[in-house]
Amino acid sequence: MTAAPPALLISRDGAVLHIRFNRPERLNALDPEMHEQVIDTLRAAATDPAVRTVAFSGEGRAFCAGENLAGGGRAVPERLRPRMVPLEIGSGPVLLHEVTTAIRNWPGPVVALLHGHALGAGYDYATSCDFRVVTEDCRLGDPRVHRALWAAEGWSYKITRLLAAGYTTKLHLLGEPLTGAEAYRIGLAHRLYPAGSDLRIIAGEFVQRLAALPAEAYAATKAAMLGELDRRWPVP
């Protein structure tokens, strides 16, 4: 019997750290161990001066179609239980809070390369990054309302600041995903490429450009912008 392939493929390309979801047979649906590993990887990368940018992407047909709900809910390893909140079904989203907050607060540029599906937890990851690169046919959104679910990881804070509350009608209340082309048109995505593009190649120059930005100035500007979203004018 061979060991299961790793759920995350982590590799370096110059100053870019690639974190690639590797569960293509289930459209990269995420489970708690994957969140945990992303948190640990980001923490280590934050103190590694050779890493200046993190890029998330997905192996196979999709970036990420959501959380792994198959097999009667999420099996949570004992060591992660303190980081989950017991709820009426399955387990709570504290770990998802942790990982999306770790992405949001990572000091350097973080970019999501989105193709196929970026739904549910995949959408949460994508909207926590600084930049989104999409293929025009990518489906981006939060269909949880159709399952009588909702997420508690902070999209309701983020999307109203990234865009404006008007877009929550389609995305969250009606649970209608956007295409990559629509996401680009309304400003949610920053680069748009044709369907079928290999984003790691075609957007390679953009990602390398992020890695070349002055790290300290970037970190200070990002921290100021995120902090000042919550502050009142005049800024002290």
Binding site: R147, W150, A152, T160, A164, G166, L173, L174
Partner: protein, 267 residues
């Protein structure tokens, strides 16, 4: 209650119609009182799954009735809060209406044809979903009339469509059509005028069949987190989640497992 607000129930859909078409559905105090009362009642219990707010005739709503003598009786419930003085009545009945609409724990669709101006814009923006005719017109003429809005639109609009477009509407008093409203994210969708009613009916049916309590919780998260800092917003989400146990969730799980469409009850 006044005959100028029509309330019709069809299954889980409550349709509230502003019915003063000869005056562009400009609202009188009795209309505001009746609309508020119907909305408050719709919020209770599981029966109403979706509220549709619309206008009879050519317009959605052109504001409050411009002539004080046409506005009718000040709401009895607010009698003790009617200030005297030279600058006329305070916009309390308007505020109570907008507040009730905005916080309603049910899906609310504004179906907009013709004009949605001033208080009409406030009402449309307090709904969750704006389905509009492509030739409808949206705007806030109050600034050009030397008045200012005190119904929360200066809070809502920058958050709904961003400060840049909000300033265009509220400060320039510019009117935009339905297609433009869709482009800037104010309208969910603009449709050809002849198709508005049919599209509205379909949308209301779709929404009324959704897991409407999940919908209400999502709406609460969006609304209340507009004013919360990031970390507080995360805690708010958890608190909202922990205090809402939703029966439809089990049906959602069963339907997913059985690969069929769910049959939600709104409980």
């Amino acid at each position: 209650m006044t005959a100028e607000i029509l309330a019709e129930r069809d299954g889980g859909i409550l349709r509230l119609t502003l019915a003063r078409p000869e005056a562009g559905n400009a609202l009188t105090y009795p209309m505001m009182t009746a609309l508020t009362a119907h909305l408050a009642a719709a919020g209770d219990g599981p029966e109403v799954r979706c509220v549709v707010v619309c206008g009879q005739g050519a317009d959605f709503c052109t504001g409050e009735s411009p002539l004080a003598e046409e506005r009718g009786a000040w709401p009895a419930a607010l009698a003790h809060r009617r200030p005297g003085g030279a600058h006329g009545a305070a916009p309390l009945p308007e505020q109570v209406l907008v507040r009730t609409l905005r916080a309603l724990p049910k899906p609310v669709i504004a179906v907009v044809q013709g004009r949605a101006l001033g208080l009409g814009l406030d009402i449309a923006c307090a709904c969750d979903i704006r389905l509009v005719a492509a030739d409808a017109s949206f705007g806030d003429p109050r600034v050009t009339q030397g008045r200012h809005a005190a119904t929360g639109i200066t809070y809502v609009l920058p958050r709904l469509i961003g400060l840049s477009q909000a300033m265009r509407l509220s400060l320039l008093g510019e009117q935009i059509d339905g297609a433009e409203a869709e482009r800037i994210g104010l309208a969910y969708r603009a449709v050809p005028p002849a198709e508005l009613e049919a599209e509205a009916g379909k949308l209301a049916q779709t929404v009324a069949a959704m897991a409407t309590r999940s919908y209400a919780v999502i709406k609460q998260q969006i609304r209340e987190q507009l004013d919360l800092p990031y970390e507080m917003a995360l805690l708010h989400s958890l608190a909202v989640r922990q205090t809402n146990v939703i029966e439809d969730r089990a049906e959602g799980q069963r339907a997913f497992a059985e690969k069929r469409a769910p049959r939600y009850t709104g409980r």
